[in-house]
């Protein structure tokens, strides 16, 4: 049991982080806090991907010596890193659009508390 947590400390902490993100999105009543929960969720999933790229004793995927054969065990898997750059940009833009929507909500209702907004409907 202890061994499992030591071996998989990254996955364990990321699962907790994903849980925190979900909890913030569902249980928090303030819309900005929901947004923060959403960002935590996205960030933790991006980290989850990065962890899948890991190899023991490997370094960043920048080839050090130019020509000749490359030993793939020296470098971590580059594919998840490239994919997650895309995912990061997507999450940034999603936050931007969410904030724009919240500005409109605030303009229409004068509050960002879900309770107040629902009460005015």
């Amino acid at each position: 049991m202890i061994e499992f947590f030591v071996d998989h400390y990254a996955h364990v902490s990321l699962s907790i982080l994903i849980g925190i993100g979900f909890f913030g999105m569902v249980a928090k009543r303030n819309l900005i806090k929901k947004l923060i929960g959403m960002s935590i969720l996205q960030a933790s999933i991006i980290l989850f991907w990065i962890v899948t790229a890991e190899k023991d004793d490997a370094t960043i995927p920048i080839i050090r010596k130019g020509d000749g054969a490359v030993d793939p065990t020296e470098y971590v898997n580059p594919l998840p890193h490239a994919l997650m750059l895309t995912a990061i940009v997507v999450s940034v833009v999603t936050s931007g659009v969410a904030i724009a929507l919240l500005v409109k909500v605030y303009r229409n209702y004068g509050s960002l508390e879900e309770k107040d907004v629902l009460g005015q409907m």
């Binding site: 998989h8 979900f22 909890f23 790229a53 190899k55 793939p72 940009v89 833009v93 724009a100």
Partner: protein, 109 residues
């Protein structure tokens, strides 16, 4: 809609989150070779013999594009269509915020 008391809602959420996290951990615990260089995503070929992209990129990126940073090559060459989509997403964000918030276009002329 059924309105639950807040404590109840928080309790249900906590329960759901715990179940979700545990099932995720269960999935992870079934991975024996985490971090090992022989994990499926890091091998040269998949079980059916097709090339596994990640390792191919490491072996051939420098020869293919004269660029030592493999992530840049993957991003901008092997999977450049993703990056085009990603640039479109950024542009889409600008358009969306403009659609939502910019009232008078002539104002900023």
């Amino acid at each position: 809609m059924i309105r639950l008391p807040p404590q109840m809602k928080i309790a249900i959420t906590l329960l759901g989150v715990t179940v979700f996290g545990t099932s995720l951990l269960y999935a992870i615990s079934a991975v024996p070779d985490h971090g090992a260089v022989y994990a499926p995503a890091h091998r040269d070929t998949s079980p059916i013999g097709s090339t596994t992209p990640g390792t191919y990129y490491l072996r051939n990126a420098y020869a293919d594009a004269k660029t030592p940073n493999v992530v840049t090559v993957v991003l901008a060459d092997y999977r450049s269509f993703d990056t085009l989509g990603e640039t479109t997403v950024v542009f889409c964000g600008a358009v969306c915020v403009m659609l939502l918030l910019r009232a008078k276009f002539r104002e900023w002329r």
